[in-house]
């Protein structure tokens, strides 16, 4: 009867303000122009789809803006009177705007992806093989990102009666997962679980319930390598989580659209249930969040936050206590969560798998086979890149697993009765790779006795293979061998094929044979770098003085110096920070701005450093062979072949 009543006409009507179309078509035009410009200049590093952080932000932003532009009318009583008095159903107005938003974002997105894909094919022949899958993947993943944020914003507009509540709801949906699983879950785990390092399930929950992070994972926003981006396929659990977000919020939209009442516009919430849920979360989540700072105060805080939330809604003193049962339930939940973590600590800290339950164990002992820098960056219970890298490297499945579990078993027993002092010496971060695929991380204190006991793991073949990967190299006759010790950065060792094989065999034998205890006797004398011509790989072989045969071999075949001062050293500069300024003047004599600099240049001065200097890169056993870093030492040595002056950063031997 009335043509405008039909949905398609109303979709046109929804675009009256042209805001969504302007933002979307404009945004994608600019994006496409920049992407093409990037592809033209650098096709091997420019990512226009998966891996593009700017496209991720564009899709997220358009999801929010398209929803805000399309459903702004839900917040305006004047507009509602206007639209709802027209001879059309409310749902037609709503869904026409919904489709309009999708149309004006997805169409330019697909056009942009196609244009960029076609253009890249023309400038990068290597891309042709990936073009179809990459463009489709990108279109699909970025559409999902758009839908997640589009739906979240629409639900916020439907549930919130005022703009302030729309913003609060949007923030809650966007960061609620992070607050719950990181702010509460992780913080409580850190507080209650003595052996906590990581709980992957918590992290996964945080990621999938934080739309920004989930979107990043879906679209590979963290990828920089082009090849990796072209091959990138998001995890099934991420795609599933994204679909759940989209579907769950779609269901909420359908339900809310039907039940939303015009008269609720202007109230804080358009639904009574939304108000309840809001009060619940505003009471429980901050109470648990802040309760973590002062443990045990959660019960008081939940009470305060509940009253605050009620005041925020009603602004009437007499109504602050209208939901007594809910308040009681909130207190109960806070108590249960706190009690749950407290009770779960025994289970968590007491966990130790049977041998037949684990596929592998990963161990990172702080201070073993790591540089001074790595050692300093690792701190107890704190997740760090260094620890993760070591856990990746030291994965044991055979004899290392057997010995590792035995060693960890003894740590676990001690951990339950160890006070804070017990963690001071060192700690071991452990990951049990269970047969069901789960990873269970723990961190245990390591005292000196435990550290000595670690030799049972250290001396296994498996550990040595992980710590000294040269053990796995074969057929090295064609490889290039060079020596470096700080002064010489790449002195080629002129070895025949047979000598190279012989050297590696000797080295392997000595590596497999040496004991952890021996590492206390000396720092490495230098490094042999092995470069594979075939594969382009390189491996560094640490040469300890107690690798007698290998060391002797190297001395025979190269001009190997035993220590730094065997080279012609011109000077040694020692820079020390001066913390106290007790003199009359602001800067004392011999000091420059809080720094004390000393130069050693004469033969006599230099001779006192003999046997004391070690090239920084050779400091690889901070616990077994600790070196001094009280000052920064820089030696100026002359490289014999070229005569060039080389500045070598050194540390100081603590003992002879």
């Amino acid at each position: 009867m009335i043509s405008a009543r039909y949905l398609c006409n109303w979709i046109k009507e929804a675009g009256r303000g042209h805001v969504t179309a302007f933002l979307s078509w404009g945004g994608f035009s600019i994006y496409t122009a920049f992407a093409i410009f990037g592809l033209k200049n650098d096709p091997y590093f420019t990512l226009f789809g998966v891996g593009s952080a700017s496209l991720l932000y564009l899709c997220m932003g358009l999801g929010i803006l398209a929803a805000a532009a399309g459903f702004w009318y839900l917040k305006q009583p004047v507009m509602l009177d206007f639209y709802y008095s027209l001879p059309v159903k409310k749902e037609v107005i709503f869904w026409s705007r919904y489709i309009h938003g999708i149309w004006h974002v997805l169409v330019p997105l697909y056009i942009s992806m196609s244009v960029c894909g076609i253009y890249e094919c023309s400038v990068n022949q290597g891309f042709e093989a990936y073009a179809g899958s990459y463009v489709l993947k990108s279109a699909a993943m970025f559409s999902m990102v758009f839908f997640i944020f589009y739906h979240i914003t629409i639900v916020s507009f439907l549930a919130g009666g005022r703009i302030v509540t729309v913003l609060v709801l949007f923030a809650a949906f966007t960061y609620g997962g992070q607050a719950v699983f990181q702010g509460i879950g992780k913080a409580y785990a850190v507080y209650f679980f003595r052996t906590f390092y990581r709980i992957p399930a918590l992290e996964t929950m945080k990621e999938v319930l934080t739309p920004r992070q989930l979107s990043g994972k879906l679209t590979g926003a963290f990828i920089y390598d082009k090849k990796e981006a072209l091959d990138y396929v998001p995890g099934k659990e991420d795609v599933l989580a994204a679909l759940l977000w989209i579907l769950l919020f779609a269901v909420l939209i359908v339900c809310m659209e039907r039940r939303r009442k015009v008269e609720n516009v202007g109230k804080l919430f358009a639904f009574f249930a939304a108000e309840r849920v809001f009060v619940f979360f505003l009471s429980v989540v901050p109470a648990l969040l802040f309760g973590n700072i002062v443990m045990g105060s959660g019960i008081v805080l939940v009470f305060l936050f509940h009253i605050l939330a009620e005041f925020f809604i009603e602004r009437q003193g007499r109504k602050l206590f209208r939901r007594k049962w809910q308040m009681a339930a909130e207190c109960m939940i806070v108590l249960l969560v706190t009690w749950g973590f407290s009770a779960g600590a025994r289970f968590f800290d007491g966990f130790f798998p049977e041998r037949n339950e684990v596929d592998a164990v990963r161990i990172c002992v702080n201070g073993v086979d790591m540089t001074q820098e790595e050692y300093m960056k690792n701190s107890f219970g704190k997740e760090s890149y260094e620890t993760e890298r070591k856990l990746e490297q030291y994965k044991f499945t055979e004899d290392g697993l057997r010995e590792g579990l035995l060693w960890i078993g003894s740590l676990k027993k001690k951990a339950q009765n160890t006070d804070k002092q017990g963690w001071k010496y060192s700690f071991a971060t452990v990951c049990y790779q269970m047969k069901d695929g789960r990873m269970r991380y723990r961190v245990y204190p390591v005292d000196e006795e435990d550290f000595q006991a670690f030799s049972m793991v250290f001396e296994t073949k498996e550990y040595k293979e992980k710590a000294y990967p040269a053990l796995l190299w074969e057929d090295v006759g064609d490889n290039r061998f060079s020596w470096k010790d700080g002064v010489r950065s790449s002195q080629i060792l002129k070895l025949t094929k047979e000598e190279k094989e012989e050297f590696l065999e000797t080295y392997k034998k000595e590596v497999l044979g040496f004991r952890m205890e021996e590492l206390k006797s000396a720092a490495p004398a230098g490094i042999v770098e092995m470069n594979s011509e075939k594969w382009g790989e390189k491996e560094e072989l640490l040469i300890y003085p107690f690798f007698e045969e290998s060391y002797a071999f190297l001395k025979r075949h190269g001009e190997i110096k035993e220590e730094l001062l065997d080279y012609p050293v011109r000077s040694i500069k020692v820079t020390e920070n001066v913390s106290g300024r007790k003199g009359k003047g602001y800067v004392k004599d011999g000091h420059a701005g809080g720094m004390k600099v000393e130069h050693y240049e004469t033969k006599e001065e230099l001779s006192q450093w003999r046997g004391r200097l070690i090239w920084e890169e050779l400091d690889v056993q901070p616990l077994l062979y600790p070196l001094g870093y009280r000052s920064r030492i820089e030696a100026e040595a002359v490289e014999p072949e070229s005569g060039a002056v080389v500045k070598v950063k050194c540390c100081e031997k603590m003992k002879e």
């Binding site: 043509s3 009543r5 008095s85 001879p87 159903k89 008269e263």
Partner: protein, 301 residues
């Protein structure tokens, strides 16, 4: 015909409209009168299908209006603060409404705009408050719908324009058998145009119907009594006095009852002069309300 049957609207604990039942016949103008917050706008929004009733129903020719586009096609609602698209002009609004109301009279709208000196190409945002009201009244009158609902109908119009608009309403009602429901809080706006008036107070309709018809037994007299006597107490004993005012020699009296009998009883008091003057709608209301037990001053003041 519009039938409002036992309609109630609750906003949480507040009852904005309480058990209202009205029947508005076709081809008449029904005025809804009441103070701010009386429930006029809420009732109109329900009648326009914007709000759902908490109880009861609103029927147009037997059809429920809520979420019924077929029924809504015969109703045009003009709120007190009408919405218009940003940067739009009257011409564009006409085009928009034509798409929704098939009977919209485009030429008529242009004619009326010309009559009122409104430039249809100028953005509506540049119009003054009164001009905007004129523009929307034109849109309402030309919508071609059978029913027209107007909130604060002549609000913002100057007296000359109000009269012109009233004239347009009269002619449209006559020509098209238009049924108009107009809400206002000033009696003046409605008294000379509405056939029926309903008074709303605290969510309920106190009185409704054709007030002129009911004015038959209300009489307004101007008298002069000798010696400037105050006759209030004496008169009140014999006749039902609704209003008594004394200004110098002149006494103005609004009374309810049989006109002849009232005149006879006054003449018995030997007045120097007695004469009948026209009774206003307000005075009819007073009579009606007083009879119903309400103090009209509490309703309108």
């Amino acid at each position: 015909m519009i039938q409002v049957e036992n309609v109630t609207k609750n906003f949480d604990s507040i009852c904005a409209v309480n058990q209202i039942s009205i029947e508005i016949p076709d081809g008449c103008m029904f005025g809804l009168l009441g103070t701010n917050g009386a429930g006029k706008s809420t009732l109109l929004r329900m009648m326009a299908g914007v709000l759902d009733c908490s109880a009861g129903r609103i029927l147009y020719d037997g059809e429920d209006v809520y979420e019924n586009p077929v029924c809504k096609a015969s109703v045009f609602y003009l709120p007190d603060m009408p919405y218009y698209f940003p940067n739009t002009n009257l011409e564009e609004m006409v085009r928009f409404y034509r798409r929704h109301y098939t009977g919209f009279e485009r030429e008529n709208a242009a004619y009326m705009a010309g009559l009122l000196n409104l430039d249809m190409t100028l953005p509506l945002r540049t119009f003054s408050k009164g001009m905007k009201r004129q523009a929307f009244l034109i849109l309402a009158l030309c919508s071609g719908t059978k029913y027209l609902l107007c909130d604060e109908v002549f609000d913002g119009l100057d007296p000359v324009m109000t009269e012109a608009m009233k004239e347009l309403f009269r002619s449209r009602i006559k020509e098209c058998k238009l049924t108009v429901v107009a809400a206002a809080h000033k009696l003046k706006d409605l008294e000379d145009i509405c056939h029926n008036i309903g008074i709303m107070h605290k969510g309920g309709v106190l009185r409704s119907g054709d007030m002129r018809e009911r004015s038959g037994n209300v009489v307004k007299l101007q008298c002069v009594f000798g010696g400037q006597r105050d006759m209030r107490e004496e008169l009140e004993k014999e006749i039902q006095v609704l209003r008594y005012e004394k200004d110098g020699y002149f006494t103005t009296l609004v009374a309810k009852g049989d006109k002849k009998e009232i005149l006879e009883r006054i003449k018995r008091k030997a007045p120097v002069f007695v004469g009948e003057i026209p009774v206003s709608l307000e005075e009819i209301f007073m009579a009606e309300m007083k009879e119903a037990g309400y103090d009209i001053r509490k309703v309108f003041m």
